[in-house]
Assembly symmetry: C2
Homo-oligomer: 325 residues x 2
């Protein structure tokens, strides 16, 4: 079995050998740019792990892992245009470095290339089935992004709607990649579905944790600015939970804080946090996160493969959740 | 065999039964909007004709014809954003009626759905092969659009580059649709390639004719404003041919006219036209168009099917070129 670092380097080599060097440069250079900005390569590595659970030949899954990474970066590219984001991984976003039209068109052709790489899987794999899973995920990612944009102007977002949105926008691609990797490795349909559910629940737990850390994280360890969600009035799980369990007064105070121009960010963060704290929102959020995590591990356990082979996925999941392994 | 009008109505019924009614509405309503703006449905009907050449069962090709139409409208949608076009078929474009983010995201999910419909083809069809052809075409369409944008700021565009660009941007999708239709109908690989070449050459001829009509067309019959390309300084075939065959003086006069702010559009059109006329650019363009047309019909002739079955494609091609049938 492969170590995480080995899978990362296998993927990195494949990416290096499959740079977009063709013409027209104006279309393909931005693709190399975004694909080489780095990142943890979490999705492709998880896909390779899904394959490696069942088969030592992980090379056969490299085209699919690249397809998933290309798709992920396509969605980042277009999301960055929609969000008018200036930076991605600390570097200028594509629409800033090049221009918006380039961002749209290079993103479009990336989406096509993700199918192109799926077609490069060996014929022993049921490619129609793989593309079907991929399509379902791709549609969910688009729907999740639409819901996320819709939520910005809605004041009646429910917790189930929010959980569905983060499932679509974040968890589906992680889950789908794991499932595709498993199927390439020869997983039964039942095991492939357990892999999907493992990924889906981990993905949701991971996003919930991100919501929690944005408010309660250690500024030294958390990559982004702590309190950023509060300053930006984002409707995170913490906010929605407060609106659910708080009394009228607490709901009104939070809504007012979220609808007022901030003069002092630190004061605003402190006040919102004090409402959260009075309702034990952090604990309630962590509780839900733990539920998803436990569901995830339950599905991992049920996969019909020796326990030792699954350890690498369990460890990676724990690391993602910031736990010592 | 089916008549054109019958294929149009078969396609229309399929489109009606496959509207995008799902949630979130913000994502899917714009798709219905653009798909229902109308148009001649040329690409899907040609695909069905490609199938009908070989098989009476054209219903089996409906999902692929819809895939091609969805893809075509996806590319129009994103092109309209890039070109900042206010109108499409006389109606507000999607980014104007809704907003730009909607245009980007709805377009993205349309591209995914075109694959989704390809997957609905009956298993007797080699779906991987169909998707491979589709991908090649989709990549060409994106590359063609990039070249088209690049050409706007270049002063050294050659005629071969221009012909390649219109082949990618316009002809490839027509050709690919015909080929896919043929393969679904059971065409041999040789016949499918002849269908592709028929469509490719017709597509280029059609675009050349569009360039000619934009300057020399009958204002009563031509859908757009005659002389529009000249006013917009578009590097059409007529312009590139003038720069190729004209002497230094004619080249300079044309370049100057194209680089000067227009005060009087009619005067500018008249002056550019007089340069074209002095070099018989219209005749030279028509000659090249005829060459493509004749190549197209040559490929049609070589398809291994009774002549009567091919008549409908020959007639449609002639109609597209504005000829009496």
């Amino acid at each position: 079995m492969y170590q995480v670092s080995e899978l990362q380097s296998l993927f990195r080599n494949y990416l290096d050998q499959n740079q977009f060097l063709q013409e027209p440069q104006g279309l393909y250079e931005p693709i190399n740019y975004i694909l080489n900005l780095g990142g943890k390569r979490l999705r492709p590595v998880l896909l390779l792990m899904g394959c490696n659970l069942f088969d030592e030949n992980v090379e056969q899954a490299l085209p699919a892992s690249y397809a998933i990474e290309i798709f992920h970066n396509f969605s980042l590219l277009h999301d960055d245009i929609m969000d008018e984001a200036p930076l991605r991984r600390g570097q200028p976003t594509v629409h800033v470095k090049y221009n918006q039209n380039t961002g749209i068109l290079s993103g479009d052709v990336m989406l096509v290339y993700s199918y192109e790489y799926l077609l490069q899987l060996k014929p022993k794999v049921n490619i129609s089935n793989i593309i079907q899973i991929f399509n379902k995920v791709a549609i969910e990612v688009c729907e999740g992004q639409q819901h996320d944009m819709d939520f910005e102007t809605r004041n009646d977002v429910t917790i189930p709607e929010y959980l569905k949105m983060i499932e679509q926008k974040t968890a589906a691609l992680i889950a789908g990649g794991l499932k595709i990797g498993g199927l390439i490795g020869g997983a039964s349909s039942a095991d492939a579905n357990h892999l999907y559910e493992f990924g889906r629940n981990i993905g949701i737990a991971f996003q919930l944790q991100d919501d929690i850390l944005d408010t309660y994280g250690d500024p030294e360890k958390f990559g982004k600015k702590v309190g950023g969600d509060i300053v930006q009035n984002k409707k995170t799980f913490l906010v929605l939970k407060t609106l659910e369990v708080g009394d009228k007064d607490q709901q009104n105070r939070l809504s007012k804080l979220m609808n007022t121009e901030t003069t002092n960010e630190l004061v605003k963060i402190k006040e919102v946090k004090s409402i959260f704290d009075s309702l034990q929102i952090r604990q309630l959020s962590e509780q839900l996160m733990e539920e998803y995590l436990s569901k995830a591990f339950d599905h991992l356990n049920r996969i019909n493969v020796a326990k030792e082979r699954k350890l690498i996925l369990e460890n990676l999941a724990n690391q993602l959740m910031g736990r010592e392994v």
